[in-house]
């Protein structure tokens, strides 16, 4: 194995058989994750990839860093526990749209309020793939993907709006079939100081016959014989997502919300909002626990060589002394 500094994307592969369907958008996302980790020159043992349940969650087994494949909807709280116990770790969370925005929606909202320095990717395909194609929380009202027995009776939620409303300080959207662009987004999300949310449009070739690679790519929209992709990049149209002063927060967030409404013939990808003006949860803890970073929960020496506790609780016991 190469020294950590020289790791290539393929060094982040595992030998686990990948059982995603042929043509799945997840392959592109997996590749982008491995490329991003190589780009960032992160030592493998300093990265934990935490996932939920579903096709997306198997990503944890395909990346050669610590892989924590958790429970349906619970990737975020596990990841937060890891990060708080050892803030020196780079924590990357991967889940699906059903996972993160259905069963895990409560955690999604709370993660925004906390603003921990972690990165959260939702692999967003509008369906529950592994259970054979039921409608997910991001599927639009009234549409009928092929394994639905009836058109979708619920309105789809907008993950970007939800993230912005909850307080995420980095909100972006990527596209599974633009791997280079997605890799850059992941790198930027990881480098962001605070909670970074990245919604990744991920065509499911088996169950979502509407939002397909061809649909995103505009194969059906020919102008003078040229296809007109539906996906466009915000940065190519001069959009600036970065909040540079605290006062800039509101106008930038309004712009982000406005752009996040676009769908249909023009679907923006890129960074919608980035704000490092807010303290992270780790910063807030440091205000209370001055040596939190140097001596977080996982790094404290709680016993000496003989197993005796190193803490001194006399101070607290003395408060209770009566005789």
């Amino acid at each position: 194995m190469a020294p950590e500094a020289l790791l290539k994307p393929q060094d982040f592969q595992t030998d686990v058989h990948n059982d995603w369907c042929p043509g799945c958008g997840d392959f592109g996302i997996l590749k982008a994750v491995q490329m991003a980790l190589a780009d960032l020159k992160l030592p493998r043992h300093e990265v934990a990839l935490v996932s939920g349940i579903g096709c997306s969650a198997k990503t944890a087994h395909y990346v050669n860093v610590y892989g924590v494949h958790t429970l349906h909807g619970r990737a975020l709280p596990v990841a937060i526990g890891v990060k708080l116990a050892n803030p020196g770790l780079e924590v990357l969370v991967v889940s699906g749209d059903g996972d993160g925005l259905g069963i895990g929606a409560g955690h999604f909202v709370s993660a925004g309020r906390r603003n921990l320095d972690i990165t959260y990717l939702i692999l967003d395909n509008g369906v529950y793939g592994l259970t054979k194609g039921q409608a997910s929380p991001t599927l639009k009202l009234g549409v009928k993907t092929k394994s639905l027995t009836q058109p979708n009776i619920n309105e789809g939620i907008n993950p970007l709006w939800l993230a912005l409303a909850s307080g995420a300080t980095f909100v972006a959207r990527g596209y599974a079939f633009d791997i280079k662009h997605l890799k850059d987004l992941i790198v930027r999300a990881i480098r962001h100081r605070g909670y970074a949310f990245l919604d990744v449009l991920q065509p499911c070739p088996t169950y979502n016959n509407l939002n397909t690679k061809d649909w995103y790519g505009g194969e059906d929209r020919l102008v003078e014989g040229k296809k007109m992709p539906r996906v466009y990049k915000l940065e190519e149209r001069g959009y600036d997502p970065v909040v540079r002063t605290f006062e800039d927060t509101e106008p930038k967030k309004m712009e982000a919300l406005k752009h996040a409404l676009q769908w249909g013939d023009a679907i923006p990808i890129g960074v919608f909002y980035q704000n490092e003006q807010f303290p992270t949860f780790e910063n807030r803890l440091e205000d209370r626990i001055p040596n939190y970073r140097e001596s977080p929960p996982a790094k404290q020496v709680i016993a000496d060589a003989a197993g005796r506790p190193t803490v001194r609780v006399q101070k607290f016991l003395d408060e209770l002394v009566v005789t």
Binding site: V68, H69, R74, P77, I302
Partner: protein, 654 residues
């Protein structure tokens, strides 16, 4: 005259300072070398509903409460209505004459059933339905009525301290009631003043005003009533160093000592007190080398201080899963909850079990099912803790019986979690959480931390987190340790931690995980598995677990003092259950009496399941108030006399 053997109660509306006055009473007794056991009863309510605190005092160790009250201190109408009947014939009631005319129907917080029963009781004695009538009913039995003019005292205190509004002093009435009680008991006022100053230590001015008021009430009661009151409290000099501690504090202190550095919780009664105590004291003084000379210096402690990160989560699912995350990263991690919250934790416990994550769940049981009676006591979650979650998932279930065990067992819970790499459910309950007791200063002699088999930083690629070993324990690496990349999954997995559905591997992994329970049973010290109290060879033996311990020990002491023989097996390790040892201890007994705070006598069922031995008697209680010494004494005496039914339901306590 009876000296230093006494039960006292104070009641009042929630939010009116009942807790602080009870704290003053308990501490004042404790400062004088007396031993105290106090229990708090309250409604699920912020303000206005009735709460009370019952304190038993003696010269020797007291381990539980007695129902009969020798002195009832009141300052509102409701407390008189609810508790006057509990006062012993030779006891007394302190009350504010200003409330004597209040009618029962004017107290809306008294439930309809209580209202009707009380009216019928008073009517049968030819009385009406005012506070005075309730007092008169007590007086008919010989109870002394002691009108303490608290409202008048307040006016004089207002003048003396030049307080603008009388309403600002209203909370002081509870201190007046307490001090009146001490006057009647002829106790040393200095101890009372010391306790008041401690309780109000943050507000010096308020403290002095209260001390002044207390002296007025003390003198008034002492002059008029002391001679006729048959109970006395006298300081008992002691050299023993003692603390006065609540159960929730004992657990929290245990967590500090154990090295628990990450605690998650979602607010729930009666578990939150523990997390809040930890959060309030999150900075922990430390000596990295405890014997080093600089270890005691303030600056050194500051720089090398440890800390506990306490996180209030969005729900209990997040609480357990976040604690799992903290444990994976290498912190000793825990969560604390009660039944309704524990319900939400199933999936996280199962995940910890299959991933061999050492996590501790402190489960404060309360009356269920569902919301049940949120502030009332029960031991209803034993089976639930053992079986929580789907599939065969190993965990250790360990129950503490008293406040000392709460402290020391907490450290053991973490040791077991890390040694056997599985979740540990530490069973405590509302009765323990909300009891206060004088205890010997907690010593750390003999307290050790055992983190179990740990992996060493290794060469890349060869670490197997779930390696098959002879005893089923795979050396544990934590996230961030060089050369130890591994995987976790809630799926069945191979030694590296990758998903598998291979039937051969499945058998090996199940046997590895479940086998750790056998190992735990073999290695956990016998005294942590079960304790035998009383007459080990008696024909009659009690089996019980958890917080019934105190009342049982005191009741059994009483029975043995009467010349009866009875033993008590306290089961501490409930899962895996030390079945063989239990069977040996139970074989050949004439009577086996299961004592539990639940409807179904859960432990009896468990013992029958694991040993084939059926108990002959069950004494259960499920109305939400802990068992008292006297009711257990009665019930066990009936068993010994051959007069008890197979199942006795205890009902004492308001």
């Amino acid at each position: 005259m009876r000296t230093n053997e006494f039960t006292w109660m104070i009641g009042g509306a929630q939010g009116s300072g009942v807790d602080s006055s009870a704290n003053v009473f308990g501490r004042a007794c404790a400062y004088g070398g007396l031993q105290v056991f106090g229990k708090r009863e309250y409604y699920s309510n912020i303000m206005g509903e009735h709460s009370y605190f019952q304190i038993r005092v003696a010269a020797k160790r007291v381990r539980a409460h007695m129902d009969p009250v020798n002195l009832l201190a009141t300052f509102d109408a409701e407390t008189v209505f609810r508790h006057a009947q509990e006062v012993t014939d030779d006891g007394a009631i302190i009350y504010d004459p200003a409330v004597a005319r209040v009618k029962l129907d004017e107290v809306p917080t008294v439930e309809r059933r209580v209202n009707q029963d009380l009216k019928a009781y008073l009517l049968a004695r030819g009385l009406g339905d005012t506070v005075q009538d309730a007092l008169d009913a007590a007086a008919q039995r010989g109870v002394a009525l002691r009108p303490l003019p608290m409202s008048e005292f307040l006016v004089s205190i207002q003048k003396k301290f030049d307080v603008e509004q009388l309403s600002k002093l209203s909370r002081m009435v509870n201190i007046l009631a307490v001090s009146g009680a001490f006057g009647m008991l002829d106790y040393d006022f200095e101890q009372v003043a010391k306790a008041i100053r401690y309780i109000f230590r943050a507000k010096k001015n308020v403290a002095e005003m209260n001390v002044y008021g207390a002296q007025v009430a003390y003198d008034y009661a002492r002059e008029r009533w002391e001679k006729e009151f048959p109970f006395k409290l006298r300081p008992v000099p002691t050299t023993e160093r003692r603390i006065y501690v609540a159960g929730s504090q004992a657990v929290a202190l245990g967590k500090m000592v154990s090295g628990c550095r990450f605690q998650t919780y979602y607010p729930i009664t009666p578990a939150s007190d523990e997390s809040e105590f930890l959060e309030a004291n999150e900075l922990l003084p430390t000596a990295v080398e405890p014997d080093a000379p600089e270890a005691q210096e303030a600056a050194f402690l500051e720089a090398n201080g440890q800390s506990v990160v306490v996180v209030q989560t969005e729900d209990e699912i997040a609480a357990i899963t976040m604690a799992n995350g903290g444990a994976l990263a290498g912190a000793r991690a825990a969560t604390a909850t009660s039944g309704p919250g524990f319900c939400l934790m199933m999936e996280g416990i199962g995940w910890a079990s299959i991933n061999e994550v050492p996590v501790v769940i402190t489960l404060y049981q309360r009356a269920g099912p569902s919301t049940g009676m949120p502030t009332r006591h029960e031991q209803g979650d034993l089976r639930f803790a053992i079986h929580a979650g789907h599939g065969d998932s190993p965990r250790i279930v360990f129950a503490s019986g008293d406040l000392e065990e709460c402290f020391y067992d907490t450290v053991k819970a973490f040791n077991y979690a890390e040694k056997y790499q599985m979740p540990v459910v530490h069973l405590v309950d509302k009765a323990l959480a909300n009891s206060n007791q004088t205890l010997p200063y907690f010593t750390l002699d003999g307290v050790t931390i055992d983190r179990g088999a740990l992996a060493r930083p290794g060469d890349d690629g060869d670490y197997l987190r779930f390696q098959f070993t002879r005893d089923g324990i795979s050396p544990r690496a934590v996230l961030g340790m060089p050369g130890t990349i591994f995987w976790n999954t809630g799926d069945e997995h191979d030694e590296k931690g990758h998903i598998t559905e291979d039937p051969v591997l499945r058998i090996l992994m199940m046997e590895k995980r479940m086998g750790k329970l056998d190992l735990a049973l073999k290695e956990i010290p016998p005294e942590d598995q079960l304790l035998v109290h009383g007459d080990a060879d008696a024909d009659t033996v009690v089996v019980s677990w958890g917080s019934t311990k105190g009342a049982l020990l005191d009741a059994i002491d009483g029975l043995r003092a009467e010349g009866r023989k009875i033993g008590f097996i306290q089961v501490r390790l409930l899962h895996p259950l030390p079945a063989e040892r239990l069977a040996k201890l139970l074989e050949g007994r004439k009577r086996i009496v299961d004592v539990e705070m639940n409807y179904g006598a859960t432990l009896a069922g468990l013992i029958r399941e694991k040993t084939g031995i059926a108990v002959t008697h069950a004494i259960v209680k499920f109305q939400g108030r802990p068992m008292s010494v006297n009711e257990l004494h009665e019930a066990l005496a009936a068993v010994l006399d051959g007069k008890a039914p197979p199942r006795e339901v205890l009902k004492y306590g308001a």
